[in-house]
């Protein structure tokens, strides 16, 4: 088993190579469904947009940790989770089935405990293109389940005939973020060498989201162990988070052609928290509730040098503008008047598409461009923003009426905020179609923008000025546009995750 421990680094390296799934759907199930945690996979690097060097593999291996409760004493085991899974291209085949297999081998040498578990599901799925959203429903049934837990001389073998496992999930694909919720429920019967039967039942939910700046998968499950000797109820909260953060790296030499660069840091971390609700005087307080982490070293990627931005002469927004250029979200040729210019509607939509990785392949890689539709009079196929505007249209971010998009017109703050909230799919939080917002200039907000602005206020990403005004009709300058897009990205990097990881409070 020592070999396994050493193997972790190799495993981690393999994951970095092939870890990122190519699909545009969320990577759910990276921790398995047994209340354990795996290191999970990193978010894609920026270079992967340009260089496709990923080795696609249907099998992924992760470092894995879990607690074994079956003896009545929580014992931490660690090992490897191997997931074999190939999801079909659901855009091409909107319904179908596939198999998913989870292989877990983990042990605790000191306590002489080991787990060997293989479970295979047949999953039926359906991609539903709705009128207002896109969603994927998945429904899994177990086709094969082998498990044996060894504790010292005793072994607990899964009784296949009396065990069952169901999971069923839905995933909503909003323009920029996929959100999902999977319910799991299983019942396992283990048999000891003395033919004692131990029943374990588990139910709970797996929540998560996936977007370009962070992804999280968190489970909230309750496990009940029923045995002649032992009755135990445990709440478990395994959680996995990957995020990208950014940091300025000032170049140290003085005579160097650039001031500095941005480092994009890919961080990930998995945590497992449990709490035993039943009364066990033999267990120490740190056994009754405990939490562990899998920490993975951060990966650093240097972003491109923001070209020629010194001409901006230290405008207050320069940091935001520089960051967006480094992240290649702003791509226009820089000019010194830029911060003072108004932001055209087309450019704003393009920047958000780039910020949220909205797929424009359909429009940029079309074989026969004549076949592509034109929705807006002023955005013909030849227009450089055509792929972005159309991708935004397809993502139901903007609406087409056969008239002009007014692509060159400056965008108002309210229009920007509406797109801003729709891209993260959270306009639901605005409650009613036309709510009263808390801003003092509420009356100036167009009716079609109120729901989104209210949602943004609740999320804390749309704030009023000193007089608590939101200034809906003001034109957005490029400086302001850069600032609010960067603010959105910051929200998506760190803040959105909070409520997902605090499910067990």
């Amino acid at each position: 088993m020592v070999m396994v421990k050493r193997g972790f680094w190799i495993v981690a390296a393999v994951v970095l190579w092939c870890g990122y799934a190519c699909s545009s759907y969320a990577d759910s199930g990276e921790m398995g469904y047994f209340g354990g945690i795996s290191e999970g996979s990193n978010l894609p690097k920026t270079i992967e947009k340009y260089v496709d060097n990923k080795k696609t593999s249907t099998t992924k291996q992760y470092q894995y940790k879990e607690f074994v409760f079956i003896t009545g004493e929580p014992i931490e085991v660690e090992g490897i989770l191997k997931i074999t899974l190939k999801e079909p291209d659901m855009d091409k085949e909107p319904t179908g089935t596939y198999t998913e297999k989870y292989d877990i081998q983990a042990s605790n040498i000191e306590k002489n405990v080991s787990i060997d578990r293989t479970i295979q599901f047949e999953t039926s799925y359906r991609l539903k293109e709705g009128d207002f959203n896109r969603q994927i429903k998945r429904d899994s049934e177990v086709t094969n389940w082998d498990e044996i837990i060894k504790v010292n001389e005793e072994s607990y073998t899964l009784n296949d005939d009396f065990s069952s496992f169901y999971k069923s999930g839905v995933e909503e694909l909003t323009p920029g973020i996929s959100y999902y919720d999977t319910s799991i429920s299983y019942y396992a019967q283990y048999v000891t060498s003395e033919d004692d039967k131990i029943n374990v039942s588990v139910y709970g939910s797996v929540y998560g989201y996936d977007q370009p700046w962070s992804k999280v998968e968190t489970q909230q499950v309750t496990m009940t162990i029923q045995d002649k000797e032992l009755q135990m109820e445990i709440e478990l909260n395994p959680s996995m988070e990957s995020k990208k953060t950014i940091e300025f790296d000032k170049a140290q030499p003085f005579p160097i052609s650039f001031e500095g660069t941005y480092n994009q840091i890919m961080e990930r971390e998995s945590s497992l928290k449990y709490r035993i609700n039943t009364f066990h005087p033999d267990l120490a307080s740190n056994q009754l509730e405990n939490s562990i982490l899998i920490q993975t070293p951060n990966q650093v990627e240097k972003l491109i040098i923001p070209e020629c931005l010194d001409i901006l002469e230290q405008h207050w927004s320069i940091d935001d503008i520089k960051k967006l250029y480094s992240m290649e979200i702003l791509t226009e040729r820089p000019k010194s008047t830029m911060p003072y210019e108004t932001m055209p509607r087309g450019e704003f939509v393009k920047a958000l598409c780039l910020a949220m990785n909205i797929d424009t392949k359909k429009y940029t890689q079309a074989k026969d461009s004549e076949q592509l539709m034109q929705v807006f009079a002023d955005v013909p196929r030849e227009h450089p923003y055509y792929p972005y505007v159309m991708a935004a249209y397809d993502a139901k971010l903007i609406k087409g009426t056969g008239s002009d998009f007014r692509i060159d017109e400056p965008i108002t703050r309210e229009a920007a905020f509406v797109i801003y909230i729709r891209v993260i799919g959270l306009e639901r939080l605005g409650i009613t179609r036309n709510p009263v917002t808390p801003f003092t200039d509420h009356e100036d907000i167009a009716e079609w923008a109120r729901k989104e602005i209210q949602a943004g206020y609740i999320l804390g990403i749309i704030e009023g000025d000193n007089a608590n005004r939101v200034l809906p009709k003001q034109l957005l300058s490029k400086a302001q546009a850069a600032t609010i897009i960067n603010r959105l990205i910051d929200y998506l990097r760190e803040e959105i995750v909070k409520d997902y990881r605090n499910l067990m409070l």
Binding site: S271, V436, F439, H442, E447
Partner: protein, 989 residues
């Protein structure tokens, strides 16, 4: 070149002047595939000029026919001076009539060829060669329109010798019956299916003068009447009357469908749906282009463009199409979006000959119930209106998709099998459906919903903001039924269900009007007879989630309390918390006292906007994060390296603060600084990490770091740099605190100063200076002149709340209580005996131990062979509740000391003193290496802060008093052993 630019500018201006009045509601014109791209006509400027006949006024009745036929080159005008004339009143001669008829039959080319053939024939007489219509005549003859005799007459040199009535005189006026014959004969010859002479007559008998029709022409006249080509006046057909050029043009126009067929022309209808202008320069030519997209009557898209090309040698080419509109002839530039047009195109060359602009037709809207669509490929939609009349219309292509089988309704693509068979509104433009909107079913008037803005039970009214933003006030009386779903209940159970199906089970939503709060989402059922009154309310709480750290708490007893919370963005809010607001910690309900400063909380807040700028917030529940903001360690050291990639900071020569003081020296500690909210201070001044990295790396600068619990590791939360000398004040009682920046501690007379750069930990949480109060029990790290670097406040250890007895069991009620015959209470080091019986209660969490460890409660019996009757136990109790029962030896010896190491069932203590029970004295174990080892046995009991704890909860620095059954000094002196079994281990001050 200047001139060229001038022209371009003019043209562009022209274009913008005829700017598009945006009228088209065609939502998919740009998206739909273009079916046909038609070509404009070359030399269009000349053509259009020629069609503007000066002698045909705009209001002339036959003007459209004249222009149309002119555009098709079927009729021609005359050039007189600079004027183009048509001479509409002139009489048409036989030869002209024949020529036009042949052109209608698309035989112009044949006629020209016949003429050339004649000219080339040496036998052809001179005068015939000179005759312009010789070819027409021979072609007409070959078609049978004129007989051989007629042809001879027509070609005869001596035209004036011919006799009217006998001979065919080519220059004589043609008669109406003759025109009828030629048109019918000619078209029948070319396209037999289109028209034929009718040998059984009915139509001609409607005219009084039918008998004057030449008998041989009767079938033809019958045919033109039936086909509405020539109609005469009300009473007479006037077969022998001559025909004017205007009349002839109209007659031909009346036969135009046949003409188009013969000429391979398509006549199409549609409307101009989109106009787009562009201009570009190519090979030195400047091309200004206007493209018009036409929505055809069958819902497809055609395009035509106007091209204006200026070449460097200043020649101008204009490609255009004649457009007729209300008497004037112009080009494509005269068309606007929304104009309904009829247009003629060549089937083979795709040339567009002519456009008849009928002007902008009004959109028509029709309401009706949508009918299921069985075959979408037909592209038609059917509705039935309230009069039960069925309407079927073609749709524009963009409204339906035959591959996906969808129909676009309300701009949303809807699968045909999921169509709302609902009331819809169709926008019909020029007979084509351009938009479909759902109107929906009839609305129920007595229900409404929204968000509560005000509820006034005193004056019985409720104001809500409806979904469309309107403020509405309704009234209620005391009979109003209220249902409210609480935030903690699931949504999917009853709802309005019991209104429709009365049910008498417990309904968790039953409530009263007082429960309706501002910000609730609400649905009202109104009194049908008086819509101002509410009869029923269904509501639920609307909440948001706020995370923050508790900064201060002010209790108001039964009025609840005020809580100051700093949220993530560092803004501070004060919440009034109602009494009995649920507070949970670790998933369990706790009392308000459990909530402490420094706790991280998650608040469920009902947030309501009363009016713009004014928000009311009500806390519905508080969840305490048991682990959040828990300080695990405080380290001291010098700043080493900072790793930006892995987000770590290295402390050099670093100590850990324990109750023993600074311990556990290590050369380096790598600390996680990935928390984005770390506070860095130099003295009391906030600084950046970069500043510290640059200027504070020095052996002279001490760094104090507070670490926060993070799962099974820790992360730095506060890092403070100081340059003074470090000194430690051990735990003692604070005697004074000014609630801001100064306090006094018992061990030193001076004031100790605090600031924002002081790390203050109270009950394990990082807190602010104002939370220090007398008589807190604290350990203080000073740095420099009475400035506190670290203040650590802990509850003063003790076990006053617990009673420790030795008892002899009298009887046991296994799951409830037990009685003891006698008991001895531990007081200091003495067991005070009392022979009085006493009863203790047993609970699920009473732990019972013997020397093997915990035994099941089922073995704690006073019957069977497991009986515990008459056994002696040590009992830890709170009042009469037994917490812990343990079968232990009678311990009368004692050891005291401070933990310096522990683990694996052993505690190592130093500064050991032992109790000499004979003299009631505490004696030092030895004067060198004064340490001892305490064994923890399975039946040992450890007590700290009035609780029985596990071994793992002891910590280094704890001062212990241990009850044991051996006198350690004697054991040490006699056997050299420093080890003793600890049965009662109590953590003391």
């Amino acid at each position: 070149m200047k001139k060229v630019i001038c022209i371009i500018v003019t043209i562009s201006m022209c274009m913008s002047l005829i700017s598009t009045v945006y009228s088209a509601v065609d939502t998919s014109i740009l998206r739909d595939e273009i079916q046909n791209t038609y070509k404009p006509r070359e030399k269009a400027a000349y053509l259009i000029e020629n069609l503007n006949f000066s002698d045909v006024p705009d209001t002339h009745w036959a003007k459209e026919a004249i222009v149309r036929l002119g555009a098709l080159n079927i009729i021609k005008g005359y050039n007189e001076g600079n004027l183009k004339k048509y001479k509409p009143g002139s009489v048409v001669s036989n030869q002209e009539a024949l020529a036009i008829t042949l052109r209608v039959l698309d035989l112009e080319e044949e006629a020209q060829q016949a003429a050339q053939k004649l000219a080339a024939d040496p036998d052809t007489p001179e005068h015939v060669i000179a005759l312009w219509m010789k070819g027409y005549l021979t072609t007409a003859n070959s078609l049978g329109l004129i007989s051989n005799n007629d042809l001879t007459d027509a070609l005869s040199l001596e035209q004036n010798t011919l006799v009217a009535g006998e001979n065919f005189i080519r220059s004589h006026a043609v008669t109406r019956e003759q025109v009828a014959q030629w048109l019918v004969q000619g078209i029948h010859f070319q396209r037999p299916a289109l028209i034929e002479p009718l040998y059984t007559q009915q139509a001609i008998f409607g005219y009084e003068d039918w008998e004057s029709i030449s008998p041989d022409k009767i079938p033809y006249v019958e045919s033109v009447i039936v086909n509405k080509i020539m109609v005469g006046n009300e009473k007479s057909f006037n077969p022998k009357k001559s025909v004017t050029r205007a009349e002839f043009a109209q007659t031909v126009k009346n036969a135009d469908d046949m003409m188009y067929d013969a000429m391979n022309i398509n006549r199409k209808n549609g409307y101009v749906a989109h106009i787009k202008d562009s201009s570009h320069t190519e090979k030195g030519q400047h091309i200004v282009k206007r493209t018009l997209l036409i929505r055809t009557q069958d819902g497809l898209v055609d395009s035509i463009s106007y091209n204006y090309t200026t070449s460097p040698i200043e020649t101008v080419i204009r490609e255009d199409v004649p457009v007729y509109h209300q008497g004037t002839v112009e080009g494509l530039l005269s068309l606007n979006e929304g104009d309904t047009i009829e247009y003629l195109v060549d089937q083979e060359t795709d040339e567009m000959f002519y456009i008849y602009n009928k002007g902008n037709t009004e959109d028509l809207t029709i309401h009706g119930v949508l009918q299921p669509i069985t075959d979408l490929t037909k592209g038609s939609i059917t509705i039935v209106d309230s009069e039960n009349i069925t309407y079927a219309f073609p749709m524009i292509k963009g409204l339906y998709n035959t591959t996906a089988n969808t129909l676009t309704i309300d701009t949303i693509e809807t699968a045909v099998d999921k169509l709302p068979l609902d009331k819809v509104e169709l926008t019909v433009k020029n007979g084509i459906v351009v938009e479909i909107k759902v109107i929906g079913q009839k609305m129920i008037q007595d229900e409404m919903s929204g968000i509560v803005k005000e509820n006034n039970p005193l004056f019985n009214y409720l104001t809500i903001i409806t979904g469309d933003g309107k403020e509405v006030t309704k009234f209620y009386d005391d009979k109003v039924e209220v249902e409210k779903l609480n935030f903690y209940d699931d949504e999917d159970e009853i709802g309005y269900y019991d209104e429709l199906f009365p049910d008498f089970r417990y309904d968790k939503t039953d409530s009263s009007i007082e429960s309706i709060k501002v910000g609730d989402v609400i649905s009202l059922k109104l009194n049908q007879n008086n819509l101002d009154y509410i009869v029923r309310i269904s509501a639920r709480t609307n909440h948001t989630i706020i995370y923050g750290t508790v900064k201060n708490i002010m209790s108001h007893g039964s009025q609840g309390f005020k809580m100051m919370v700093e949220s993530n963005d560092k803004t501070t809010s004060v919440y009034d918390i109602a009494y009995a607001t649920p507070i949970t910690r670790d998933g369990k309900n706790v009392r308000q006292e459990t909530l402490r400063q420094g706790d991280m909380v998650k608040l469920l807040v009902n947030q309501a906007v009363i009016e713009p700028g004014k928000i009311s917030e009500r806390v519905l529940s508080i969840q305490i994060d048991a682990y959040g903001n828990t300080i695990t360690h405080i380290y001291r050291g010098q700043l080493g390296n900072i790793n930006d990639y892995q987000r770590t900071l290295t402390l050099l020569n670093t100590y850990e603060l324990s109750k023993l003081g600074w311990t556990d020296l290590q050369k380096a500690r790598v600390l996680d600084i990935s928390n984005p909210d770390i506070h860095y201070f130099k003295d009391d001044q906030p600084i950046s990490l970069a500043y510290a990295n640059q200027f504070l790396k020095s052996p002279e600068v001490e760094v104090y770091v507070a670490m926060e619990k993070y799962y099974d590791t820790e992360k730095a939360v506060k890092i403070c740099f100081r340059e003074g000398r470090d000194s430690l004040l051990n735990y003692n009682t604070i005697t004074y605190a000014n609630g801001w920046n100064k306090f006094k501690i018992l061990s030193t007379p001076q004031y100790i100063n605090m600031g924002t750069g002081t790390i203050i930990v109270k009950n394990g949480k990082l807190v602010e200076t104002n939370t220090i109060t007398a008589p807190d029990y604290a350990q203080v790290v000073l740095n420099g002149n009475n400035r506190a670097a670290v203040v650590q406040v802990d509850p003063e250890p003790g076990y006053d709340g617990l009673f420790i007895y030795r008892v002899r069991i009298a009887s046991i009620d296994t799951y409830d209580k037990f009685k003891v015959q006698s008991h001895a209470l531990l007081s200091d080091m003495n067991w005070l005996y009392s022979p009085i019986q006493k009863q203790f209660t047993l609970d699920y969490n009473t732990v019972i131990k013997d020397d093997t460890g915990t035994i099941p409660k089922s073995e704690f019996l006073d019957y069977s062979d497991l009986t515990k009757y008459n056994k002696v136990y040590t009992v830890i109790s709170k009042g009469t509740d037994a917490i812990n029962l343990s079968e232990q030896p009678y311990c009368k010896d004692g050891v005291q000391g401070q933990i310096y190491d522990l683990g694996n069932g052993k505690i190592k203590i130093k500064d050991v003193v032992c109790y000499d029970k004979v003299n009631s004295l505490w004696l030092t174990l030895s004067h060198s290496y004064n340490d001892a080892e305490i064994n923890i046995k399975p039946n040992s009991i450890i007590i700290k802060n009035n609780q029985v704890i596990g071994e793992d909860e002891l910590e280094k620095g704890d001062k212990l008093r241990i009850m044991t059954d051996e006198y350690l000094i004697q054991k040490y002196v006699q056997h050299g052993l420093r080890e003793v079994d600890g049965y009662l281990i109590m953590v003391e001050k």
